[in-house]
Symmetry: C2
Subunit: 394 residues, 2 copies
């Protein structure tokens, strides 16, 4: 008999599991090229060529015992140094290897830092809609995720609602810009304002509130949008980063946490992050991947390709009458479902071989997420299906 | 302010952290070759040559999008199929890809299966001495680790004590053979007897008790010792495996769970293991490493090298008057400290540049663990230091 919590988690993900199973069946039935799968954020852009080239060089040249041995729990020191220097060049920061913890992607990093910071009963506050797994990450640490309700006009953070939502129990405010699932980017004024609110609330309650910036989509921005470097705006900021999207390496499971020295209780947080990396079973981020991203962290995926997908799909969906903001980042469109029940809408979409993700799991029912990190051809071929789906509701 | 639990975990690991820090300092001061570091289980035997060769071939030949993309949560289906076939050949089992979950090492696998099975308040029972991180793994799932007291004569499981220790709360019995830290191997009669006890206790309490076999050292056995395949002896057995030791790949973070179809609630456990893999932040075991071990799982590290280390060190320590059983597996000697306080003994050993691990963290105070997965030269050079240390107590 499995645990009660796991039963609930399985039930919660039953919809998504069913979607996957059905998608697989549909692809077998119709051929993968005739199913328009916008379900998951698995990049269709290849990793830069330097990735495999660098990995091969490392495998050929590196001492085998070092390359396959346990690394420091925080990651190889020279890898962390290179990541720190990379950040210093980009953001004019002053990090060194002591500010970096290599992680098993951002998902691993978030679980590590949640484990470090959260006491049972404490709260993680985030803005709806949000990446659906955040809820479980908070639960893993015995804590609770609470969502600030969405602003359905702009999908930007409702800062008044944030202010009202923070309580003595709020230990973490978790932001994700560029955002999954909406694609919005928080500009400097928003980040600065969040910083001010948290400073005030820390004083008001006499607590530490950590702002965690989950940034796997940092580099995927369009129309010249800028993504402010969050630690510049609020002292107690921790960054969770992943190379899954910026270098198209989601299966490699490699990312890092930035723990600025200015953090309240920096020493304990750093020690805690190492202990958490061990006891959560990560032990160290995969060793070869650490070395590869240290060499390739200045590379960038083909953002123009995603931008092309965005323009094509956004323009077409608008013309068919779908309601959607134009995203400035990430690779998702967040579209109002054409009926109230987003799950029913996704079922209907499947009749047109369109696989979409209902947003109820993102804390924003009535919407769907369309992951446009697919081939251009998939988008082109899907357009008549989107049009027919829209017409079916007229 | 970090969490209260993490504070305790940091305190608990303060001794080990201090040991590492001091070891680093000593190596800088005396030169690494003049410090005899028996502290951690980081194999000194190189990974088989086929590992790097296979990794390079995969990087050169595999479709980049597949190789670096998310894999199925359980791992690539063809990788799981190959692992299943490998097990079927070795153990005359009948597994297929549905019985295998690829994991981030055995540490990742144990955290996954604990998350699936354990309700808050339930108990994991294991035999002292035990790998120190098990305590935290149980805590991660809101559960508690309890230890069956050690048999200080043989360090084999005390089965009467096991029988008496099982309660209605016992959800998991966790065994680790070949054992870290003692090197003992449980023979067929022991495994069969454990199976009988658990069958009886399941009936007595009307509960499911899962036997989890943590087997990173399965292949590291000497003197013809045999390691029974545990699922053959008890229906509700789950195996956690890692390639860290058998292929010298601890930094690669790759292993798997075996979920036999005969498990009570197999379907839910399998679904749960996939959900846990996602929500704990592993997402999938590193993709390249999955493909590498699928090709190389029939390879084996140089067991004879470890055997040579074992004979040399065991014989020498005996002659200096240390008390220790002769291990049949893994790469550890478990030695009685020459004073009551094992931590004080390890401090004393440092004066002779010997780095040992106190066994208090393994639930067996008064002993130390010596990891002999080091170079032959390190062992040879360390012998006079062990002798001098023994003499200092006469």
């Amino acid at each position: 008999m499995i645990s009660q919590n796991m039963k609930k988690l399985i039930e919660k993900s039953a919809g998504i599991s069913a979607l996957f199973t059905e998608a697989k069946k549909m692809k077998e039935q119709y051929g993968a090229e005739n199913v328009y799968d916008f379900g998951i954020g698995n990049p269709n852009v290849k990793a830069p060529e330097s990735i495999n080239k660098t990995a091969i060089e490392i495998l050929q040249q590196e001492d085998t015992i070092i390359l396959h041995g346990y690394t420091d729990t925080a990651g190889y020191a020279e890898v962390r140094k290179k990541i720190a220097n990379h950040l210093n060049r980009r953001f004019d920061t002053n990090f060194d290897e002591e500010n970096i913890i290599m992680t098993v992607g951002a998902a691993g990093g978030l679980n590590v830092i949640f484990k470090v910071l959260l006491n049972p009963g404490e709260e993680v506050l985030t803005f709806a809609p949000f990446f659906s797994e955040y809820t479980a990450y908070a639960m893993n640490a015995g804590a609770v995720l609470r969502a600030v309700p969405p602003n359905l006009e702009t999908f930007l953070p409702d800062l008044t609602a944030l202010e009202q939502s923070i309580t003595k129990k709020t230990k973490i405010v978790l932001i994700n810009s560029p955002n999954n699932p909406t694609g919005v980017v928080y500009d400097e004024s928003i980040i600065a304002e969040i910083g001010c609110i948290l400073e005030e609330k820390q004083k008001e309650y006499g607590t530490d509130i950590y702002l965690i910036a989950d940034e796997p989509y940092r580099e995927l921005v369009y129309d010249g949008a800028e993504v402010p470097y969050v630690p510049d705006y609020y002292k107690n900021t921790i960054v969770a980063y992943s190379f899954s999207k910026s270098l198209s390496l989601p299966g490699d499971r490699i990312g890092y946490l930035v723990l600025p020295s200015q953090l309240e209780d920096y020493d304990e947080i750093k020690q805690g992050a190492e202990v958490a990396t061990r006891v959560l079973g990560f032990v160290n981020a995969p060793a070869l991947q650490q070395k590869v991203v240290a060499e390739c962290c200045d590379e960038l995926t083909d953002v123009a390709f995603y931008d092309g997908n965005r323009e094509l799909l956004y323009t077409a969906l608008q013309s068919y009458g779908y309601q959607c903001i134009k995203p400035q980042g990430a690779f998702y469109l967040f579209v109002k479902a054409l009926e109230e029940d987003d799950e029913a809408f996704c079922q209907k979409a499947k009749q047109y071989r369109l696989l979409l993700t209902p947003a109820i799991g993102f804390g924003c029912p009535g919407y769907v997420r369309i992951a446009y990190c697919v081939s251009r051809e998939t988008i082109e071929k899907s357009l008549p299906a989107f049009e027919a789906l829209a017409k079916s509701y007229q």
